[in-house]
């Protein structure tokens, strides 16, 4: 590994963490959505600063090419994020549905109240 690639790895991890933390700070991201990105960024930073950790972890699990562990963890994180998003979307759809139904019922109620009032004013 050259010095350039070492610096590149560390900088990429810092950039990821920086973006996520800044978005959290500005309320552009809620912390329950950011948790996976924070974990991924932290892992990338640790592995970037201490490449030995990656080789040690790959050896412990029994993966011959340490890079494959990086791919595996990356895919796993993306998978979890996707699942979380699908679940959130389902929950949002259920809420939207309830709101739409409530809007329809409320509108009906307003109309009947207005009707009552105009009837009373006429009589």
């Amino acid at each position: 590994m050259t010095v350039t690639s070492y610096i590149f790895g560390v900088l990429a991890a810092l950039l990821t963490l920086g973006v996520v933390i800044e978005m959290l700070r500005r309320h552009r991201l809620r912390e329950r959505h950011a948790i996976w990105w924070l974990i991924a960024g932290t892992l990338a930073l640790v592995v970037g600063v201490f490449p030995g950790v990656l080789e040690w972890a790959a050896g412990v699990i029994g993966i011959e090419v340490p890079l494959n562990l990086v791919f595996f963890v990356s895919v796993a994180v993306l998978f979890l994020v996707c699942i979380q998003h699908s679940a959130e979307l389902t929950a949002l759809e259920a809420k939207t549905r309830t709101l739409a139904e409530t809007v329809a019922l409320t509108q009906l109620r307003i109309e009947s109240l207005e009707q009552d009032r105009s009837d009373r004013e006429r009589s």
């Binding site: 259920a94 739409a100 139904e101 329809a104 019922l105 509108q107 009906l108």
Partner: protein, 268 residues
């Protein structure tokens, strides 16, 4: 029964018939007809008018499911109350509006009728009469009355569904995807909270939910008329996809945790 009937004199018979008529009239007053409608401007007015002709004193709620055509004005012209969903939710969403309206306004029963005219409102009293002993009554096409032929994968889907759902509901059901159904007070309260919006949820899963909440389910034979607008698909690929999706919907419905009626509702 037969001998007792013979003992009644003509006056008693007339009084009985009148009493039955009056009791049906008061049942109708406590019944809400719910018609989910999506782009049905051509027929919805006729269907609403027919409902009022056959069932005077009933209240008719058309739930406009985000139509882009003149459905709302046509339904209003027919004399119905119209609830407007801001966008399309599907039959499940439209029906839950109906159930919630019924709970808020104190209706005991809800009868679902399609706004395309394939259900005959003249059958509603038969469905309501059955509600005395059941919580949910289906108007079934294959129970002897009328002619309605299906074949191929669509037929298999119906056989599979009716087999499994009959077992779940502990009664013989021949037409589980019927959209012509009457719900009694317990079912109305249950559905106001738990009516599913997914594909086929309004027919298959709602039956499972009701059966697992200890609702009594039953069916009444009805004749269906040909649909006024649109025609059922006979494409074998679409029918096969329907079979697959129906099976999946059934499998998930049966493995979900059951929802229970809350105590005060269950007590009746």
């Amino acid at each position: 029964m037969v001998s007792r009937k013979r003992d009644l004199c003509a006056g008693q018979v007339a009084a009985l018939a009148l009493a039955r008529l009056i009791s049906m009239a008061s049942v109708l007053e406590r019944t809400l007809i719910v018609m989910p409608a999506f782009n049905e401007q051509a027929v919805v007015r006729d269907v609403v008018e027919e409902v009022f002709l056959r069932l005077p004193s009933v209240t008719c709620l058309v739930v406009d499911d985000g139509s882009s055509d003149d459905t709302i004005a046509q339904a209003l012209a027919g004399g119905a109350i119209v609830a407007r969903l801001p966008f399309n939710l599907g039959v499940g969403g439209a029906m839950r509006v109906g159930f919630r309206y019924a709970v808020e306004h104190g209706f005991d029963n809800v009868v679902q009728i399609d706004s395309d005219g394939q259900h005959d409102p003249a059958n509603v009293p038969a469905l309501l009469a059955q509600l005395k002993t059941a919580d949910l009554v289906l108007g079934a096409r294959f129970a002897g009355e009328g002619s309605y032929a299906v074949k191929g994968p669509r037929k298999w889907a119906m056989v599979v569904l009716s087999t499994f759902l009959s077992r779940t509901a502990k009664t013989r059901l021949t037409d589980t995807t019927s959209g012509f159904r009457a719900s009694g007070p317990r079912a109305v309260r249950l559905f106001a909270e738990h009516y599913p919006a997914e594909y086929l949820g309004d027919t298959i899963e709602s039956l499972v939910i009701a059966a697992r909440a200890q609702c009594v389910i039953s069916q009444v034979p009805v004749a269906m008329r040909p649909r006024a607008g649109g025609k059922p698909s006979h494409n074998p690929l679409e029918a096969a996809a329907y079979l697959g999706r129906a099976t999946m919907a059934l499998a998930f419905a049966l493995t979900r945790p059951p929802v229970a009626l809350r105590y005060s509702e269950a007590k009746r």
